[in-house]
Symmetry: C2
């Protein structure tokens, strides 16, 4: 994802200058353009989109860079237990700056925004206890992302944080066709491990090696689910990281959930490398 | 690591042509130069270097790209159980093409090249049973790498395969100061886990999720060693990969040791990302 053809074409509009200066400018500027390709001046846009799932109305956020043109891969972003917050929107912006169209899916519904961890826990419990509903909600978000006229529907990924990590795994357990998914400190347990056979895309699990919220038996069961279904999976354990390691403000205080700058940065780079592979 | 200043300077020697053609050529060529920076025409050189450790004479192989100039990071490459083979030299060449100086360390000694798995097993058993000797041998290799006049001794990493993976972990357990190490399908067990406290650099473990040669208890003990010593570590499990997943010709037939193209490619990319971090 670099600057579009327009950026290079614009070079032809330079005023005519002396030969030597021109040569120098050509080298410096086309060098700069290419070296800065990943951070070309971006015009990030976003809009809230309401969309239905059965009787519910969900409200997601689409984020893209309108300084680039043409179809591009789409990335579904699934929220943590507090629902869509500035955190998810920020991640979507980061993805848009990388050249993707990002859509923050809404699992809870437009009028359901938990105010505190107690309400958040009630909601995650509801959806984790009703996996068919969870799958229906996240699939509705995927369908909405694919409706964007900017998205190359042959190149779709989903990422999720905590509850959202669980949710993107449920998305592919449901049989949804994507190019890949990434879970960041997501719960890995499944009430129906045989559904692992529905996963047809590469899976990247970014996991805090000291996450006390993920029981060793759930981690082992997840690995066995992947093995049994011959899924193309990999799992990265970040030493020293606990739960919520990418989240500077998890919304509660618990030594088992803490931001870890190194693990955050590294897992984002690992995701980018994963995307480079699945979208090549 | 891109083309040196000479490559860009050479552009100034182009014949003078019409303005439009010049503009087009400047854009196309400087674009090509930059996009191809990672694969700039390389002149890979190598030489065998004999060096001592106590009474033993070891014979390693130094590999570098002499089309680039100046100091560059050094990477020690430690062999699998068959000793230095074409496999290790090929990895060293791959590293040299990335712009590093690579040195294939010799652990066994110049006259000790096992002919078959039986001899190889006897040697690995010898060194894994005598960790002080193993550490002395690998430290001798590190010292030799650092003697190269091409190496920036402030930027040193070590990588190793199978037995060599174990060995690079022993290197840092011994207190050697490096910027980072990468173990590919290395044995992770340690007879002296308290020595983990000597590890002061980032550690990347690339592990086959189905490696039957690495016992779950050894894996767990390794993680606990890292935790207890507060090492900056991460471990990647590649789904579907067994032992020797980077090695197309492991030298023996065993369903527990098999090449895995995806895990090979991905672990190499993971190593490159790790190097980008530790050498930045």
């Amino acid at each position: 994802m670099g600057p579009g053809p327009d950026a290079l074409t614009a070079i032809g509009k330079w005023p005519k200058v002396g030969y030597d200066k021109l040569v120098m400018k050509m080298i410096l500027l086309s060098t700069a353009l290419l070296l800065c390709a990943g951070s070309a001046s971006a015009a990030i846009q976003s809009k809230v989109i309401e969309y239905p799932q059965a009787d519910a109305t969900l409200a997601g956020v689409l984020v893209w860079d309108d300084s680039i043109s043409g179809l591009r891969p789409g990335v579904l972003v699934v929220h943590q237990w507090l629902g869509i917050t500035d955190y998810e929107k920020h991640r979507a912006e980061m993805l848009a700056r990388l050249g993707y169209v990002a859509f923050c899916a809404d699992i809870y519904g437009k009028d359901s925004r938990p105010k505190d961890p107690t309400e958040a826990r009630a909601l995650t419990t509801k959806y984790k206890s009703d996996r068919p509903l969870l799958r229906a909600r996240v699939n509705a978000g995927l369908a909405q992302l694919e409706k964007s006229e900017l998205v190359d529907t042959n190149r779709i990924a989903a990422i999720g944080y905590c509850f959202g990590g669980t949710t993107v795994i449920e998305l592919v357990r449901s049989g949804a066709q994507l190019n890949g998914i990434v879970s960041f400190h997501g719960g890995l347990d499944s009430p129906a491990p045989a559904d692992g056979r529905n996963i047809k895309c590469p899976v990247l699990i970014c996991h805090g090696a000291d996450d006390p919220f993920e029981k060793p038996e759930d981690l082992a069961a997840f690995e066995n689910e992947m093995r049994a279904a011959k899924v193309d999976w990999r799992l990265i354990k970040y030493g020293g990281a606990v739960h919520s390691f990418t989240q500077p403000n998890p919304g509660f205080t618990d030594p088992g959930a803490r931001y870890n700058e190194k693990a955050d940065r590294r897992s984002w780079e690992d995701m980018k490398l994963f995307f480079a592979e699945i979208f090549k």
